[in-house]
Structures are given as structure tokens and as C-alpha cells.
Amino acid sequence: MNALTPDRLAQLTVKALERTAFMMADPVAFDPGAFATATRCAVIRYGGPESGIVTLHTTDDFLRGLAANLLGVEPESIDLASYGEDAIKELTNIVGGSVILELGGHECSYTLGLPQLSTSSNGPSQSSQTCCLDCEGHLLFVTWEPVSVPVSLAA
């Protein structure tokens, strides 16, 4: 299995943002204080040769920007409870897909679950890799956590 570094995780997320929502992002240093303000969270689990979880944490403002770019409308017009939450789930799905492709390559035998919203406010664990991105003024935290026991992929 390939290992994912925070730098590579950041590269995969930047590519997902650019291609999906035409948004530019740059890696920045992880700031625990800023992480605490990122109250929007979505997770996706994968299974296969190894299991793991990919988690995105961000803010309402990032969700508005992401959804607005996907739809081609102004951020102020975005309803967070519908399009905002759908946007973070879809970005999580896409980053999760990139992670399993990175881990498995073209002979990939990983299976991805469905993305889910989460209320988790726990910081990254010691076994995880986390990157932090500044995306047009808003912070996005992406965590990849391999797990030693198979995870349920059911939504």
C-alpha cells in the first residue's frame, strides 16, 4: 500500500477543488485554534486491502463559496442546509475517491462508501495525516486516517 503524506493529501484536494469548483487553494500550517472554528464536517469510509476514513472540516463561509462555484451563483444566495451540505459531501466523495486511487493505483481493489455529514469536532488523531488549505480566504482541513479494523461502508 502507498502511504499518503500531508503534502500529497493537499495536492489531491487542490486538484479536486480546481477541477470540480474552479477554486484555487494553497497549503498552510495546521493551526489548532483555526481547526476549532471549522465546525462543518463530512466523512467517507473505504474498505479493501486496508480500511480508512477521510474527513473534511471547514467553515460555513467555505461551504457557501464551494456551493456557489459549483452552481455558478453568488455565495449569498446559497442555502447551507441544502446545497452547502451537499457540496461538502460531494467534495468529500471526490477527495475520498482520489485517496483510494492513490493508495491502490490502477489495480485498485478498494471500495468507497457514501459520504456523510458528521458533527465530529475531535482533532486529528496521532495515527492520521492532516493537511490544511487556504482556499480563497477560507480554511479547509483534510484528514486521512488508516484504521486497523474493517469499517462499515453502509451509509
Partner: protein, 127 residues
């Protein structure tokens, strides 16, 4: 282009984003249909002829692979072109889909122009 396209994806926002790209391919707005899962897609196909299905795989209710299996069982719908637009990377699942005759796929995240090219290629082959 006088072709009907069906976008099947459980994410409403991604359906809208894909719809924008399909419009750029020259498909008129009223010829672009949307479904949130495989079952909804089959229901639409009962009433509308569709030339191309852009199919996500990981969806609730009926996933994309189950939809493709159902589609291939139906003689009246067997000729509908299907392009996978998904995060799916599992080689076994993609092989099962190829066995159903679904050879074109686009891995998310994709460049919009790649989807445009694929739509033109698939619909061009059919015309």
C-alpha cells in the same frame, strides 16, 4: 444537438454542475434529464427516450452497477449509451461494468472539457 441526456447522481449540486457542462456540449436544456439514483433513472427511462446516460456508481436506493444490470436486461433500453462519471476506482467493479458493455468512464475530479469530449465522442458514434 437533438439528443437526450440523463444525468444520474445522488448529489443535486453535482447534477447541476454536470448539467452546465452538458449544455456546453450543445445539448438543449429541455433535453437534459436528472435522476438521484438508479431507480429514479429507470422510472425516467419508462417515459423518455434517452441517448446517453451519465452514471454515478455509489448511490443509495439503487447504485449505478445495479442500474446498468437492469438496463441490459431490457431489450428496449439495451442500446442506450452509458458513460460512468464517478469516483469509482475498484478494478473488479469496473471490469463487471465493462462486461455489461460500458467501456467509457470519467473519474472524478474531471476537467469539464474532458466530459464535453466524451459526450461528443459517444453521441457522435451513435449518430
Amino acid at each position: 444537438m437533438s439528443c437526450n441526456v440523463l444525468i444520474v447522481d445522488d448529489s443535486p449540486i453535482l447534477r447541476k454542475a454536470i448539467k452546465k457542462v452538458v449544455r456546453l456540449s450543445g445539448i438543449e436544456d429541455d433535453r437534459i434529464h436528472e435522476a438521484g439514483n438508479g431507480q429514479e433513472a429507470l422510472d425516467i427511462l419508462e417515459t423518455v427516450w434517452v441517448d446517453l446516460v451519465l452514471l454515478d456508481l455509489n448511490m443509495p436506493v439503487m447504485d449505478g452497477e445495479q442500474f446498468a444490470q437492469e438496463l441490459r436486461k431490457r431489450p428496449d433500453l439495451n442500446g442506450v449509451a452509458v458513460v460512468i462519471v464517478s469516483t469509482e476506482a475498484n478494478k473488479d467493479r469496473l471490469a463487471r461494468l465493462r462486461a455489461l458493455g460500458i467501456v467509457e468512464s470519467l473519474h472524478k475530479p474531471f476537467e469539464p472539457e474532458d466530459l464535453c469530449k466524451l459526450i461528443s465522442k459517444v453521441l457522435g458514434v451513435k449518430q
